[in-house]
């Protein structure tokens, strides 16, 4: 397991721009990704220096509130920020995205387009709005196949039916000719997954794949994605605001706040030994089935920061319940950098966190004040 | 956002200005370009007034009329529009008709189907005509005295074919005893007793009382022959059967009409019609401005309606094409009239106050100025009519150069007992913008002496039911009515009698809006009508006109004039008094 951060130092490196670093050996290596949108009100820093790596067969969960920059990250990886109304002039993007040894941000648009749907596929949040209402489900799936494969309609249909069958849609031959609105929510999401998988993508990005679904269906879809991942061996990025969704799926977790990563590590570490007050908040607001709910959920107070005027210092500071905890000689206007924590996941993945409080203080608060309440 | 919207608006405004400039430029430029040859051969300004422009006997070619208004009907007994009377001479003849000659000459009556003018006997009560030998229908059959009688009888059938003038019926059968040919019980449908046809060539009219203008009435298209077995009653106007030099090949109402030579017509029987073109076409179009432009482009020869060049094209026409214009009298007088039933106009002094206070110069300008509007009229008898006197100026209008005479107006108001003025209503047709303009002019002038007048625009299409009804006029309090009038036939009787003879006051379709009913005036009409010598009759009409002026019910504006277009291709073009200043269509030819 290679950790890119070791290249430039132990702390504070992840938010620093790279300078001509050699190509990565990781399957997906995102380095200091910044996606900024100039608007009339100012520069919206949707993603402001994000780095992570992901290997094939593994699942990364990106967690955060809406507006934390997680969806923009996925669009950035897909290269969708640069076409259409997100056109080149509108989004300012910097950093590097290495996929299988290729740098995507400097690649030309057509090259990226050819990767899209074939190597990187995406499952969207609301399958009803994400599928074209005027085309049949089957047609939309076979279209995705035919863009990347020179086959006739019949072969494409066969492939689509195969996939529909694989994702568990009954009577796939018949359902091929149905329109999205004729599917139930769960079936639609299955179809969406079939569409994403039709080209055997190596990287699958699932952006809130279960948000629009009811709880039982959610579980089915998550199971499906997990099964398929095993079968296809893809790398999966699971984007969600709901820690519960990634709890059982993700190998690693990345918590985003205000366009940046505030905590990162193995799922196990982030779940059971979280080192950031924001993660605590997320955990506190998560309904859990595995424990009896003795107290009311503890939501994170306040609202996400404006991405135009991100507060100086710690972005989470205005909402942080521990803002008043003494932090030694730390200057409050300085932003806390991601720092490697002294614990490491079972697989050797490091645990990172960005907080001005000392590690000891945080371990204490977690074990004494937070964990017992959850 | 604000700046964005502003810039958009500015852009639109800018575009509009550019387009407008282009339009003006191309309108002038386009006309100039096409006119190089037209201007060269235009016969000169007013070349068709009182003389013949481009006299020629050359036959052939197509004479192209254009117009915005179709005839009310091309059925000779139904048509009442002036241009229809002029145009109908192409396909129908009468016993007598107007002499082909410019201006006043045209009002002289000459025989047409008949060999000579009437033999009048029985103290002016019997008119006898003999038909020419070689007058024929388009199928070659001869026009008979019975055909003439049958045609005239159709005028009686107002219940079936309404719309045309009914003078003949009023003169020959004042009690309307004859029911018309469609309800005629006589087998030959020639039951009208007042007309006798002892043989195919002779026709005798027996009038209950003499009428000096009877032959004028016989010169109207309503006195045309109609062949009984070709009579399609109400639909006859869609394709009248010709006895003139041209026959109607096709006619689509409001769209077009095409005439070609009537092969069975004998030119030697006709001393009136030159019949020069081989074909005649009429195109009806909607857009009057476009029509003027296309006349100037040379695409058409003349406006069949002869309403005059519109305001949009007038300046260009006068500047670049003056040689193609005739600025002639139409025989109409434009005027305001004060109903005596509406207080305070029951008092002559209040009427005089209006006459004096009116700004005739401004009224003339509202009409279009001296050229397009006409000369200021000092009295109510148009110039082409015997007995008229352009110098008779009882209210010193000409002497004052058309300016209002406020002093006299105030004097009159005082005498009327309305020293501080009064309120009244000016009624004007809503479909005549020029008339509305004159109403506003009058309104402004009256304000100067304290007379507050509202302008009420009524539905112009319902004239006969609104201002034509004395009851409605009184109810609505129409103290001043703006109208225009032209004669059906060019005599004092034709022009003035419906306007000022008290016996012509009708409950509907009234034209004597003032409800003037002066026994002296009425009896002057009787004397003049009984007089068979037109000059003597003219003297009587002169007295009549003076009495009308003295009654102070009329405020004449102008002797109406128009500016008409005469294409450079036209030959034998001259305007006529008989046809309200229109060219004599039957004489026109084209150069190629």
């Amino acid at each position: 397991m290679t950790d890119p951060t070791t290249k430039t130092g132990e702390t504070g490196a992840l938010n620093q721009p790279y300078d001509g670093a050699p190509s990565s050996t990781a399957f997906l290596d995102v380095r200091d990704l910044k996606v900024h949108f100039p608007t009339e009100d100012g520069l919206v820093k949707s993603v402001d220096g994000l780095s992570f790596t992901l290997e094939k067969g593994r699942t990364l969960g990106i967690v955060g509130e809406s507006g934390s920059g997680k969806s923009v990250t996925s669009l950035g990886i897909m290269g969708l920020h640069r076409v259409g109304q997100y056109g080149r002039q509108r989004a300012r993007i910097s950093g590097e995205i290495w996929l299988d040894g290729k740098e995507l941000l400097s690649a030309d648009e057509d090259e990226v387009r050819r990767l899209r749907g074939r190597e990187i596929a995406m499952i969207f949040q609301d399958p009803l709005s994400a599928m074209h209402p005027y085309f049949t489900v089957g047609k939309q799936i076979s279209e995705a196949y035919r863009v990347h494969h020179k086959v006739d309609k019949k072969a494409a249909r066969k492939r689509a039916v195969e996939l529909l069958d694989r994702v568990g849609i009954p009577e796939p031959h018949k359902r091929f000719d149905s329109y999205p609105h004729e599917f139930s929510g769960g079936m639609r999401q299955r179809a969406m997954i079939a569409m994403a998988l039709v080209n055997n993508p190596e990287l699958l990005i699932a952006d809130e794949p279960t948000t629009a679904l009811d709880v039982t269906v959610q579980a089915q879809i998550l199971d499906l994605i997990r099964d398929l991942q095993k079968e296809f061996g893809s790398a999966v990025i699971m984007i969600t605001h709901d820690l519960g969704v990634v709890a059982e799926m993700a190998d690693e977790l990345l918590v985003m706040y205000g366009g940046r990563c505030v905590e990162r590590g193995t799922a196990e570490k982030v779940f059971y030994e979280p080192r950031h007050p924001y993660t605590w908040g997320l955990l506190g607001s998560m309904p859990r089935i595995d424990r009896e709910q003795t107290e009311r959920l503890i939501p994170v107070k306040g609202s996400p920061p404006s991405l135009i005027n991100i507060p100086s210092g710690c972005a989470f500071n205005p909402r942080c319940p521990y803002a008043d905890v003494p932090k030694g000689n730390v200057t409050r206007t300085v932003r806390p950098e991601l720092t490697a924590q002294d614990d490491t996941g079972q697989d050797g993945t490091r645990h990172w966190s960005a907080c001005h409080m000392s590690q000891e203080e945080r371990t204490r608060i977690w074990t004494e004040e937070i964990a017992p309440k959850l | 956002m604000t700046t964005h919207r502003t810039s958009k608006r500015r852009l639109a405004a800018g575009t509009a200005v550019v387009l407008a400039a282009m339009l003006t430029a191309t309108a002038c430029g386009g006309a100039e370009k096409k006119d190089d040859k037209a201007a060269a051969s235009g016969s000169g300004f007013n070349a068709g007034i009182d003389k013949v422009a481009n006299a020629s006997d050359k036959k052939g070619g197509e004479l192209k009329f254009v117009g915005t208004q179709d005839a009310d009907s091309w059925d000779p007994q139904r048509g009442y529009y002036g241009f229809m009377w002029d145009f109908s001479r192409y396909y129908t003849r009468q016993l007598i008709s107007f002499k082909p000659g410019p201006g006043k000459e045209s009002t002289e009556l000459v025989p047409d189907l008949a060999t000579a003018k009437a033999e009048i006997s029985d103290g002016g009560k019997t008119y006898k005509y003999t038909l020419k030998d070689n007058v024929t229908w388009e199928d070659g059959s001869p026009v008979t005295a019975q055909d003439v009688k049958y045609g005239i009888e159709r005028t009686w059938a107002q219940d079936v074919i309404s719309g045309g003038p009914v003078y003949l019926q009023q003169v020959l059968d004042p009690k309307a005893e004859y029911p018309g040919p469609y309800k005629d019980t006589a087998p030959d449908k020639l039951g009208l007793k007042a007309i006798e046809t002892p043989d195919a060539k002779t026709i005798i009219f027996k009038l209950p009382t003499p009428n000096g203008d009877f032959e004028q009435m016989l010169a109207m298209p309503a006195a045309s022959p109609v062949k009984q077995d070709k009579d399609t009653a109400a639909k006859y106007g869609l394709k009248p059967f010709s006895n003139g030099p041209y026959k109607i090949d096709s006619y689509e109402p409001n769209k077009s009409m095409k005439l070609s030579r009537n092969e069975n017509y004998k030119p030697e029987s006709d001393t009136i019609r030159k019949a020069l073109p081989d074909t005649i076409s009429v195109t009806f179009m909607a857009n009057a401005d476009d029509m003027d432009k296309r006349l100037m482009n040379g695409e058409f020869d003349l406006d069949i309606n002869a309403t005059g060049i519109g305001q949009a094209a007038r300046a260009t026409a006068l500047k670049d094409h003056k040689g193609n214009l005739d600025n002639g009298q139409t025989g109409f007088i434009r005027y305001a009239v004060m109903p005596q039933t509406v207080a305070p106009f029951d008092n002559i002094e209040c009427r005089k106050a209006v006459i004096y206070a009116a700004d005739k110069k401004s009224l003339q300008t509202a009409r279009g100025g001296p050229q397009a509007g006409g000369d200021i009229a000092p009295n109510m008898l148009p110039l082409g009519i015997k007995g008229s006197d352009a110098k008779y100026d009882p209210y010193e209008v000409l002497k004052n150069d058309g300016k209002p005479n406020l002093e006299k107006a105030k004097e009159a108001l005082k005498a009327c007992g309305k020293e501080t003025g009064f309120k009244t209503t000016i009624a004007v047709r809503n479909n005549k913008p020029v008339e509305v303009a004159t109403a506003v002019s009058l309104q402004n002038a009256l304000k100067q002496v304290g007379i507050e007048a509202d302008v009420d625009q009524f539905d112009g299409a319902q004239t006969s039911g609104i201002i034509g009804s004395p009851k409605v006029v009184k109810e609505k309090g129409y103290g001043i009515i703006i109208m225009g009038w032209g004669a059906d036939f060019p005599t004092g009787q034709g022009f003035s009698q419906p306007l000022v003879d008290g016996r012509f006051i009708l409950q509907s379709g009234n034209n004597n809006f003032s409800e003037l009913n002066d026994p002296a005036i009425n009896s002057l009409f009787d004397q003049a009508i009984a007089e068979t010598d037109p000059t003597k009759a003219g003297d009587i009409y002169k007295q009549m006109n003076q009495k009308v002026s003295e009654a102070a019910v009329y405020l004449p504006f102008v002797y109406d004039k128009t500016i008409t277009w005469r294409s450079s291709r036209l030959t034998n073009a001259y305007t006529t008094d008989a046809y309200n200043g229109r060219y004599d269509y039957a004489s026109l030819g084209v150069v190629k």
Binding site: E143 | L19, D289
Partner: protein, 332 residues
């Protein structure tokens, strides 16, 4: 589906009947209420009592309004006879009435005017849909560019300038000055070449007005559609931009445009009044204006009905079309 169709067609018929009744009331009852006599409109310069009585007889104006209406409706289906003593006029079914101004049956007149209006509308439709939609799409894709701004500026001018103005402008420029195109005079039957040449300016003038509207509509719709999730999906599939725009975005953009187009066409079938007037095209619109100015009631009634028919029919067709275009719409 069939039941729906039958129900809708029945509703259309009822609506047309109501429109007929209302129109009838306006033109034949209203004059009575304000104290004028419809017969007066037809007698011409002199209102001879015999003439008025004759017309009243022949038109059946003495009957109660509902009887008149009933006769009219029967005439539509079975034809009718206008009689005044021995003066009898047959009006064959479908009898839309009889013009007492021109002594013509209304239905053949309508049939005469309709092709003019139809050809004007159809030619213009082709131009404005092609031009307006293309402009709108390009504007939407290049939003904020100089091209977008100038196209929308021209569109604004197109929407705001009266056709009388643009019509006279193109006549002055292309007909009088450059001599490229004639005026619409020849009918298609007479001379197809001249007909086409003459119709170009009316088409262009009318299309300009609508193209402007359609460009703005297309641009707005396209921008909205481009923001839809399924467009993002299409791109995520790796589709090329031409396919994303031309297939996925256009499909959705065309739906509101087709709706508006159907209704516009329906309305235009009743006559493009100003265009017809400006170019002196003898279609339904111009004839309606003339009939109104001449108080030719039967013609006004006929044109009103045929226009109403097209509007109502267009509505029905748009509804049916909707079901074809949008699979989410069910007819029931």
């Amino acid at each position: 589906m069939l039941a729906y169709l039958i129900r809708r067609i029945f509703a259309v018929l009822v609506m047309l009947l109501v429109i007929t009744l209302v129109t009838f009331g306006i033109f034949f009852l209203f004059p009575k209420l304000i104290g004028t006599d419809p017969a007066l409109y037809f007698v011409g310069k002199q209102s001879d009592p015999a003439a008025i009585e004759g017309i009243r007889q022949k038109m059946g104006l003495d009957d109660p309004i509902l009887v008149q209406f009933g006769k009219f409706v029967v005439g539509l289906v079975a034809g009718r006879t206008y009689a005044n003593g021995s003066d009898v006029t047959q009006c064959a079914a479908p009898c839309f009435g009889y013009s007492f101004k021109t002594e013509q049956e209304v239905w053949p007149l309508l049939l005469d005017w309709l092709p003019v209006t139809l050809s004007l509308a159809m030619g213009a439709v082709v131009l404005w849909v092609a031009g307006g939609v293309a402009t709108g799409v390009v504007s939407a894709l290049k939003r904020g560019s100089l091209l977008d701004r100038s196209a929308m500026g021209v569109a604004l001018a197109g929407v705001s300038l009266p056709i009388y103005f643009t019509g006279m402008l193109v006549i002055a420029l292309f007909s009088d000055q450059l001599g490229w195109f004639g005026r619409p005079e020849a009918s298609f039957a007479e001379d197809p070449g001249r007909w086409f040449n003459g119709m170009i300016l009316p088409w262009v003038s009318l299309a300009f007005l609508y193209a402007a509207m359609y460009a703005r509509l297309t641009r707005a719709t396209m921008l909205e559609v481009l923001g839809e999730d399924y467009i993002r999906t299409a791109r995520a599939k790796g589709l090329t931009e031409p396919v994303v725009i031309g297939k996925h975005a256009m499909r959705s953009t065309m739906t509101p445009i087709l709706t508006v187009l159907g209704l516009d066409l329906g309305a235009l079938m009743g006559g493009a009044v100003l265009t017809e007037y400006t170019f002196s095209l003898h279609g339904l619109g111009y004839s309606a204006v003339r009939a109104i100015s001449e108080h030719d009631l039967p013609v006004i009634l006929g044109i009103t009905l045929i226009s109403a028919f097209f509007v109502v029919a267009a509505n029905l067709i748009v509804d049916l079309l909707y079901a074809v275009i949008d699979p989410r719409v069910r007819l029931s």
